[in-house]
Symmetry: C2
Subunit: 388 residues, 2 copies
C-alpha cells in the first residue's frame, strides 16, 4: 500500500508538502528552538525591547546564537551576514523580513554587516542571463538600502562583481571538503543538472568566514547569519566544513516563512504576483490584494459570532502579527476577532492601513537612494566603525 | 573469457595503458593529424623554418589550426593560450615543451599570449594547500619567463590571484551549459570526489574566450591553444559550449607526451624524480640519469652490430629527436645507431651534452628573472603590442 501523506520538502528551491511543521523541521535539521530565556537574554544584553519578529516567534530557531551572545558579553565583536537572490526587479514584503530583522540586530549589537547579492545563483538556477541578474541585483540593493542600513557598518556585494582572491580561495578549499554525493543529498541535484549548480553552495558558504573579506576583518571573528530556515542546508554544510578549514562555525538565527496571501502555508513566492504584496504596489493594489486574501472568518455571521475566526487559517491576522508593532492592539484583535466580535472586513482594513503605510514609507526611502549611495555601499573598503 | 588487453586511458590526471597509440587517440578524440601540407603552410605564412617540434611531429594533432591560419592570412589577429599546473617547485624538461613551442608561435605570428597558472587545480587535485600552490606557481612562472617570453605581449596569471568579474561570469555561464553527467563522463569523476573538482573544468575553459580578459581584448578574437594532448578533454568541452555562449571555438595544436627516462612510453611524471630531467639538475645528475635511461641498444656487441639499435625503444635517441636542433646530425645518428655502427654510450654522451647545455642556459636565464619581472608579467594590464 502506498502512503498518501506528502513528504515535507524544504530546501532553498522548494518549499512544499502543505502546512509546514516547524517543530518537525527543527528536529529534522537539528537546530534549536529560540526559548523565552534566550529572548530575555537578548533584551538584557542590548538594553532594548527585542524586535517584534523575535518576540512573536517569526525568528524561531537558531544554531549557536547563545555562543554569539557569550562572546558579545565578553566584549568580543562578531559580524552579521545575510543575502538576497535577485530573481526579480522588485521585492515583496516577505523578502524584507530578514533585512528588517538584520537592521535591528546591527543597531542593537552595533556590529558590521555583509550582504551577499547572489546574482550568480539566479543566473544559474533561474536561467537569467548575467546582465539581467546583475540589473535585478542592483535594483534590489536599492530596496535593501531603503531599509535604513548604516553605510559605515555595511558592505553589500554582488558575487559577479566582488569575486576576488581570498574569497575564491575560500570557495576552493570549501569545495574540497564536500563530496559530490553530499551535495546531491543536501540539495537534491542529479546528473542532468548543470555543473554550475554544484559550484554554488560553496559561494554562499564563504561569506560566513571572516577571512573572505580581507578589507573588513584583520582577524577571525565569529559570524551570525539571520535568514529564513530554507537556507539552513547551506549553512549546515558550512558548519560541517568550517572546523576542517580552521574557521569558526557560523551561528544562525532562522525565521519561518512569510505566508502567501492566497496560498495555504507555503512560502510567499515572487512568481505569483497576486499572492504577494510588492514594495512597489499602489495603495489600491494593496487593498485589492488584502481583500482577496485567505480568511479565517466563518461563512456566515451567526457562525462567526458563535465560533469566532479561525486565526490559524487567517492570513490578514498572520500579517498583522508580523507587522502591527503595538502588542496591546494585536492582543485586542486576537481576542475580539478570535471570539467573533470583530469581523474579517475590519481586520483587513486595519492590515491595509498598516501595510500601506509600510509600503509608502519604503517607497519614499527607496526614491531617495541614489546610484552614488549604491556605489558607496558596494565599494570594497574598510568599515571605519569596525575600529571604534 | 576475460580480455587481457589494457584500455588506453588519457585524461589530464592519468596516462596509462602502456604504449600510447597516437593514431587511435586522434580517432577517439576526433581531432586532426597535422599533415605535411599544413606545416608547409606555416612555413610560408611565417617566412621561417617551422619549429623542430612541428617538423618532427612532437606537435602532431590539431583542431581548426587551419582556420586560425585562414584568419591570420586575412590579416586578423588571434591570441595564444597555454597553462601550467604548479604541482612542484621545479619544472622538468617535459614541462618546458609547450612553452618552448608557444614562444616560437608567439614570435612567428607576433601575437599576444595568456598563460594560466592553475594553482587552484593543484590545490584541489593534488591536495596542496593554497599557499604551497601559489608559491609553486610563482616559482614556475620564473621558469616560464626564463623561456624568453616578451613581457609586452604576454600576460601570466594565477587563478587564485586573477579571478575577477568577467572571468567569473564566463565560468558561471560555461558551467550552466555542461551537465554533471557530461563532466563525469569526460573526466571520470564519481560521487566520492570533492565538489571542487566539478568546478574546475570551466575555470580552465574560460581563458579560451577573449572576453575573459577585458583589459586585453576589446573585441572577440580567436584563440589558439598549444598543449599536450591529455588536455584535449577540457577543450572538447570548451568547443561544445562556445557556440551556445556566442563565442568562437578555440583552436588547438597538440603534442604527444615526452617519454619518461626509465618508463616505457607514458608521460614523464613529476612524481618520480629519476624518470625526469629537472631544470635545476646538475650536470652530474643529468649524466647519471641519462646513463640509467631505457636503451634500445642490443644486449651484446655482436647483436648490436648485426641488428642495430631498436630506435623505437631507445629513450636517449627519442630525447635527441626533441632537442637536437641539427636535422642532418640527427639523421646521421638515426642511421649509424639504427644500423649498429654507433654505440649506446656515444648516443648517451651526445644527449648529455645537448641537455646539459639546455639546462645550463635555462638556469642562467632563470637566475636573471627578478621578482619585479614576475610582477610585471602578472600585472593585469593592456598589452601595448596588441595595438601595433
Amino acid at each position: 500500500m502506498k502512503k498518501t501523506t506528502q513528504k515535507q520538502v524544504v530546501n532553498p528551491w522548494a518549499v512544499s508538502g502543505g502546512k509546514i511543521d516547524y517543530d518537525k523541521l527543527i528536529d529534522k535539521f537539528g537546530c534549536q528552538r529560540i526559548e523565552e530565556s534566550l529572548i530575555n537574554r537578548v533584551q538584557r544584553l542590548t538594553s532594548r525591547q527585542p524586535h517584534v519578529f523575535l518576540r512573536r516567534g517569526v525568528f524561531f530557531a537558531h544554531r549557536d546564537f547563545n555562543l554569539i551572545l557569550d562572546s558579545y558579553e565578553r566584549g568580543e565583536k562578531f559580524y552579521l551576514y545575510t543575502g538576497r537572490g535577485p530573481s526579480s526587479e522588485s521585492l515583496h514584503l516577505g523578502h524584507l523580513i530578514p533585512f528588517l530583522f538584520t537592521k535591528y540586530l546591527q543597531e542593537a549589537f552595533n556590529v558590521p554587516l555583509v550582504i551577499q547579492i547572489t546574482d550568480d545563483e539566479k543566473c544559474i538556477f533561474k536561467n537569467l542571463n548575467p546582465e539581467d541578474s546583475k540589473r535585478f541585483g542592483r535594483e534590489n540593493v536599492k530596496d535593501i538600502i531603503a531599509c535604513g542600513f548604516d553605510v559605515t557598518k555595511t558592505f553589500i556585494f554582488s558575487n559577479f562583481d566582488y569575486v576576488s582572491s581570498k574569497f575564491y580561495e575560500n570557495i576552493v578549499v570549501t569545495g574540497k571538503c564536500v563530496t559530490r554525493n553530499k551535495i546531491d543529498g543536501t540539495f537534491g541535484f542529479t546528473g542532468e543538472d548543470p555543473v554550475a549548480k554544484y559550484s554554488f553552495p560553496a559561494v554562499q558558504a564563504v561569506p560566513s568566514f571572516s577571512s573572505s573579506f580581507p578589507h573588513l576583518f584583520e582577524e577571525d571573528i565569529p559570524c551570525l547569519i539571520p535568514c529564513a530556515i530554507d537556507q539552513d542546508p547551506y549553512f549546515r554544510m558550512t558548519r560541517d566544513v568550517a572546523p576542517r578549514l580552521g574557521y569558526r562555525k557560523p551561528a544562525l538565527i532562522e525565521s519561518s516563512f512569510f505566508p502567501a496571501l492566497r496560498g495555504k502555508n507555503g512560502k510567499m513566492s515572487a512568481s505569483d504576483a497576486n499572492s504577494a504584496i510588492y514594495m512597489n504596489d499602489s495603495a489600491k493594489d494593496i487593498k485589492k490584494k488584502i481583500n482577496g486574501a485567505v480568511s479565517g472568518g466563518r461563512d456566515n455571521m451567526d457562525d462567526h459570532k458563535k465560533y469566532g475566526a479561525n486565526l490559524e487559517e487567517d492570513i490578514p491576522f498572520k500579517y498583522l502579527s508580523f507587522f502591527l508593532e503595538d502588542d496591546a492592539e494585536l492582543e485586542h484583535i486576537r481576542k475580539e476577532y478570535g471570539e467573533g466580535r470583530m469581523l474579517t472586513g475590519a481586520v483587513k482594513m486595519r492590515l491595509t492601513r498598516v501595510l500601506t503605510e509600510i509600503v509608502e514609507n519604503h517607497r519614499r526611502a527607496r526614491a531617495a537612494v541614489t546610484e552614488q549611495m549604491v556605489d558607496a555601499f558596494m565599494a570594497a573598503r574598510p568599515l571605519p566603525s569596525m575600529f571604534e
